[in-house]
Symmetry: D3
Subunit: 271 residues, 6 copies
């Protein structure tokens, strides 16, 4: 399903967290060819493993389960945790404690590369007429954005101090297709998501790098120039859906923060 | 005539000033599908309106005519005013007083979006081996360039103070085709002009944004990265005319300011 | 004790958290003249209030206690929480949950200005030959630094979303006097601490501003230019102690991360 | 009255425009020692010249009068024109037409150095918690600020194209003493004004340089680092007036644009 | 062999130094159509000239030979000198003395444009997860890199002082095809090399410009945005060789400086 | 003779090259108290050593002599080599070969800190109305400036590759007093020179740092903010000589490159 030349670089044991989440489900079949063994985790049972898979139930906020989960893991694609604006306690458990538990477990188990599903909501309070880069200062738009900014800081610290490499993916809107005008800027196709995850997993040297996750959309607020070394090139674009999206949402209320800020509905959402 | 997916977003009443000027004539038929009613203005009569058109004669330096002109206008494509180096008095009337009159009229009439034909001559005194961006400080190359820098400042002030949005287009050389080597860098096709104007008109949030108007030329002095949120992607290129242009102008006199500075002939032109 | 002209600007009720901590004890007598009522809080009893004081026992990780604590508070000097590298659980409670509880309580109680004791350990993994500014990206040096980076992000979000203003003080080493060569760069006298807190409390407009807390030391790694609007001017300097400090520590082991990085001993400390 | 070593560098004939305005009156006696002949101009008669002075009545908007005024002038201190928010027509005459007339006259008469009284209102729509520099993009706060931004562009163009040097002084608040809290940041004493004008007049090479005009105030929003080559060092400070000012204005309404933006009352003033 | 529209712009006499070196041999047949006479030089005899060619033997470290070599030369493509890490004496002769001799000869003979084969090893000590630009400060990785940094400084000085224009090409890895993972980022095809040299030779105005020489590779560490005025657009990509390269080198040892730094094997090579 | 608190930090054996040159002679008596043994070198005999001194004759271009010279040396203050614009051959020997020989000898002998007398002529082709920093790109003004730019690159490479630390001092004009108007910006007193050298020698961590060498002059073109970690604070100023200097040189010819560029007379000097 991926048109770019497949990379033969294989991880031994690759852990995919949040394997039953929206993006986890998309990535599960796609990541198999990049590893010898794909370990899948979720906080609750998710059925039987397929060939080349193994399944572990583990809650991110449980330190011991996390340390067991990372055993013999060579690299992680961390899609687990809370992925929408939620009450603080849920985010604290899954994304704050979860981030610490994951990296401590990686440190203790010798895991050396993590692909971290961060979010564009780390910078959600920039306006939609500002172009930001992975070097721009965080402006989180809520508890969720705060927790992802924290995760990026954790990644930076574990790189500076312990030599664990991370690519933080500030994912835009990864869905089947864009459904509103904001997504014309933020959408990332599932194929591009795969390309991004694979590039992040196989780039030779990454330290802690941050990159926005979006397709090759005509309109965008994000400039990935500082992360060209990751080697991510999107091949899809929201523009094939532009007519459909604009027909559905012909007008914008510029007085609504939801339309004004990059974070969209998150800037007013209450968990 | 536009290959990119047409935007269904329609302005109610769209005013095109300078409708009988070079670019106004190109834009007149192209803008019709983006509005319910296209109001055309010029300082002297320009014939009968077509279907979906209305024509108003108004001089930019006449405050009252301008306030009448903007009545019930939802958005403006401001191509009017002086567009070449001229004696100061002409520029003062059309471009300085004209800019104030236009924005005051927009403020009084509640118009909320203006696409302003600024010019690359705002930055004409950068050298042709410098790459500038919409954030670079102005270096106007004459009275004309000064008046366009003024217009951009007016746009900024009416945004900061009155909430009127503007996209200032620092148009390069929008002609049928490039005719000298400078235009290999500065040329913008009419189709790309249309794409740019439409993107500027329909981008959800623009505040005051500045963007250079050029096609996808191989050589360029302008980097539009800070304005990617406008969503302008040129599809044409001066390079299909390169052989023809270079044959016509095989040598450059580097001691001539006209060849040295981005403003070209404007840097020595007297109005 | 402060030589600069005293500011007559008074807060009504000012809350000082961590009132029994090292810096809290220094600030307690100094802050009285800047408010009508100084509310002091600590996680355990701290004796009787003096005149113009009131004492409230509250634990940062206790949401309800924090909401009660902020009642009728006009501004906060937040010195509470963990202030050294500690095991994660302690930092999670005092600095992560504590930050959220404090800002939620401020939001619910209508408190509009917070002076937040952040730390230089937010950027502790820059080298000692790099000059950083309040705009530099975080490079925390441990759990403590991570928690302070989180606190700054919380402050940013509550400003962007709820209009609560914060000055985050990236405090260097605020002690009686500098005792090692690192502190020649990082030391801040108690008088300068007072000047900084008062400036942060009384500056007319701060949004979320970040500023390093140091005296006017000859050697420094921090450039506060982006925060000149705070109006902080240190009057003391570590240099009067230089001979004493250098006599005590004449050599540096450049291969030791503790000497190499700005965070000093924190970069290898385990909680 | 100036404590810094007096410069013996003398201009032959120095023109001071706006000689009867507030700052003109302060500068008139101070500038005498820096020139052989001080020509004073104003739009209406201003009495008899003193020794070493000559007086010329000239209106800025009158091209011929301006060309006569500049005859045999070696350098100009341009304090003339409108200096507050006014109706557009007044500003157009004095500051827009006036700027062009002044520079055209300088060009025709061979005058090579102009000290131009620009204004902080060129950047008045930055917030009071932002630190801007002479390189920051203009954000004028009204017609007056627009006209000063225009004057700076004129200065840049006459430098790039005609080799006339200018120092644009973005003057803050030059009064006897600061009278409100905004002026704690923006105040410039008359002695410092003199230092600034003299530095601008005598610096060997300036091209077109921009510099903010303020005393050595503890609080400031302006960073003059890019213009250190001018050699301006203020010796006064608003802080000796701080207690008095803060007693007069103990509170700030942060919801009022006048308190929020650097331009202060100008951001809402109507001419 | 070049797909982009051929430029008809012809140099009169073009000198290609290092004509028998790896890249010289590739360029020799390709450059003929861009000049009336192609002068080829090498430090030892290289056979007979073809039609439109002339051959001169000259050693770069020999001042007199170099002055003779440049006689009547209109432009130079300087591929000569040492192109790998070598003992210092060899590099001193060919690249340090050679650079001075070449530019002095150009100055004395009135040659006005030089295309200088610099190298990515000028910035070889940046990490492979950093994106650098032609404006980034040099971090040479050895004697060879030092000599190329020197050559760029020579070019800058001869431009500033003597008006000789140079484009310094920081060439990556110009070979038949990429043979290791580093080259996935650094590779430049011979066709793209030709495009780059021709663009550098024929761009109207270049002053001293620096540009990285690479194909349109998916992964890269170099951002050529500041040199868009050169008009170089690569058409090839290392990615068609990715599968082959990754199969050959599936793992990277991140502890090896050779894998960590952009300079690759040069960072540890001894001349 | 130094008013700032003396540093007790002593180097064991400190080498001062160029000990009989202008600055060497000034530094010789001043450096004694910072080391146990001061080794003095020059290319020709310079008399008898004083107490705590040893003298070695060595030519910079002689590799073997340099390797002997560095034996048992803990740190170097490198004032040797050519210090004015000279014919290329002299500069090649003393400054190019000399730099390589010095650093190779340091590497082989285990010397870990070098204070390198670079020069403002590394950036001599910036204009006198530009403010540059230690991060600004080199624009050397002649062979001498080129050789110092080369020396800085050598220092950078030996730091990146071999861990030898250097502070490169871009010395302005270190003389008894300033004698022309350029020196009002560039002058550094001998006491400030001592302060700078001592700070560079004793700063705990420097990697490769670059800093301009000037006194606390009112006018300056150089901003040392990026090197505040060195801890250099000048206490003298050219301004006490301003009246004397300006009396001697009341006018400037702005058309003369010598007055226009920061390098002054070097920009036209021929070696």
């Amino acid at each position: 399903m991926l048109k770019q030349p497949a990379s033969p670089l294989k991880v031994g044991r690759l852990l995919l967290t949040g394997a039953a989440g929206n993006l986890g489900k998309e990535l599960r079949p796609r990541l198999k060819s990049y590893c010898d063994m794909l370990r899948l985790s979720h906080r609750s049972p998710i059925g039987e493993p397929g060939q080349g898979e193994e399944i572990v139930v583990a809650a991110l906020e449980d330190k011991d389960q996390m340390q067991a989960l990372l055993k013999d893991v060579d690299a992680v694609v961390h899609m687990g945790g809370v992925s929408t604006e939620q009450p603080w306690d849920a985010i604290l458990a899954g994304n704050i404690m979860g981030a610490i538990n994951l990296y401590e477990a990686a440190r203790l188990n010798g895991t050396k590369r993590i692909v971290f599903a961060s979010s564009n909501h780390v910078t959600g309070f920039y306006r939609q007429d500002e172009v930001v880069t992975p070097k721009s200062a965080p402006r989180p738009d809520g508890f969720y954005g705060l927790s992802k900014a924290f995760g990026e800081d954790v990644a930076q610290m574990y790189w500076d101090r312990w030599g664990i490499e991370t690519v933080s993916l500030r994912i835009g809107s990864s869905f089947d297709k864009p459904v509103d005008r904001r997504m014309l800027a933020t959408w990332m196709s599932y194929d591009d998501l795969e390309r991004l995850v694979v590039a992040a997993l196989t780039a030779p040297i990454v330290g802690h790098s941050i990159i926005y996750g979006m397709s090759d959309n005509q309109t965008t607020w994000w400039d990935n120039t500082p992360s060209k070394h990751i080697g991510y090139r999107p091949l899809d674009s929201s523009d094939v859906f532009r007519a459909e999206v604009e027909a559905r949402q012909p007008t914008i209320d510029r007085h609504n923060p939801v339309a004004l800020y990059q974070g969209g509905a998150f800037v007013t959402a209450r968990g």
